[in-house]
Amino acid sequence: MADTAMHSPAAYDVETVRGDFPILSRTMHGKPLAFLDSAASAQKPRAVIDTVRDVYEREYANVHRGLYEISEAVTDRYEGTRETIRDFIGAASTKEIVFTRNATESVNLVAHSFGRNFLEEGDEVVITELEHHANIVPWQMLRDEKGIVLKVAPITDDGELIMSAFEDLLGPRTKLVAVAHMSNVMGTILPVEDIIRRAHAVGAKVLIDGCQSVTHIPIDVQALGCDFFVFSGHKLYGPSGIGLLYGREELLDAMPPFMGGGDMISSVTFEKSTWARLPHKFEAGTPAIAQAIGLGAAIDYVNGLGLAAIGQHEADMLNYATQQLSSFDGLRIIGTAPNKASVVSFVLDYAHPHDIATIIDRAGVAVRAGHHCAQPLMDRMDVPATVRASIGLYTNKADIDALVGALGDVQEFFG
């Protein structure tokens, strides 16, 4: 782990941090880049870029196969990343750390392997109104295939889960509760401890979609007690193409493989194959080797800054952004839960989000505009789309000032 003493919370120096991200020094349309789209995908620190390059330049070979020095070395680095991730999320064993392409694949793995084999017609899966499509569609596909029942827990106008309504949905047929830890659209942080406790009380398993939370909140899967936890590397300042599934060992042990192929077998004959041990049983084919090692470097980088310090800085930026945007003429923030992080979605009553995004792009401001892969939530909040500004560990006040300034251009056209 990196030296945390260099970055004590009081000394969080965002300008120094920004210096670690080469892309932040570029311009967009001739203006300094104000990158406010980290919730879609975060930028990469030099440490990650250098690590990936180092793998390819010095130590690349396939893993788990080669009987030569560089293959053994890269296998050690790849498997070492599993330990880095185990430590980062507090898992009991690296057997519980399964590499995937991204969180979407992780959810699909659970739907296919756990869902198809342990859920029966009439069994219930509970999700919430604020889920990303990645935590809706796989369950709909399972519903259509197996005849399970998909139940959706409602949220308030502020974007908070209505706990009493959630609890009302739980019953003897509830086999799985699959919820986001943090809303990708509104930033709401869900009370997952409470959710897990109540779900377990009726004997249901719990999957937490940690895509958004893992970059802001320290995670301890054992303390949470969740059964599955998923996230993507690219939102955590790591490469794209690498994601993670955490599953409790006894569950993963009981689950059949998701995909068949090389690397996931113990033995193969034309009559019968037997499976590799955990976690390799779920990792068919050559994995994203450099990307996994790059994710390890990203986690080392985040640990070096400290998630507590990062979280505090991001909370300061969120407060500043909320304050600046709230007073803007005709602007309405979508998602006003007291417990939220790093995301501010909004609409202007005189301009469509796409027009806003196009205009502020010309001022160097990168945001997401649209439905954010959460169309049911857009319907629930009664908006066709929103503009989403999301905050990362490198976001500074100048980024937010650039956003607010550029909204002035929008107002000039449309106001």
Partner: protein, 151 residues
């Protein structure tokens, strides 16, 4: 502010965007199609009433979208009236070439010349579909399809 933005958001477009013409459902439409842009969530429905003479007797739309798509639908429905299906298709072809920049000085025809205010989308590749969605939907309606999706 950049010139290409001023080019994109001309007064005419802002006006059509804010006060779209023909913005209503049509109960006795002969042709009707829904258009979706799954990338951004824009949705609209185009209604056409074809007369016995084979010409568009009435055209209207409803939907939610950005200023570009609303303005494009508004101007398109205005221009469709009195045209045959072939003429509408030809107008679409010319408009499409203009938006994608495929043809620099495409001939839109005298009446449709006003569509040239939308040519600014050429400088904004991600917004071309906003301008063309109503047109793709109109063509789908003429061809008897219920729904189209732009990717």
């Amino acid at each position: 502010m950049s010139d290409d933005l001023r080019e994109l958001y001309q007064e005419v477009i802002l006006d059509h965007g804010k006060h779209p013409r023909n913005f209503h459902a049509c109960e006795d439409a002969t042709n009707e199609a829904r258009g979706n842009n799954p990338l951004c969530g824009d949705q609209l429905v185009i209604y056409l009433k074809m007369g016995e003479d084979g010409k568009v007797a009435d055209a209207s739309f409803v939907g939610k979208g950005c200023a570009i798509s609303m303005a494009s639908a508004s101007m398109m429905t205005d221009l469709l009236k009195g045209r045959t299906a072939e003429e509408a298709q030809a107008m679409f072809d010319a408009f499409h070439k203009m938006c994608t920049g495929e043809e620099e000085d495409v001939d839109l025809g005298e009446e449709a010349e006003k569509l040239r205010v939308l040519s600014g989308v050429r400088e904004f590749p991600t917004r071309v579909k906003c301008a063309t969605l109503p047109w793709h939907t109109m063509v789908a309606a003429l061809e008897g399809q219920d729904e189209i999706s732009t990717e």
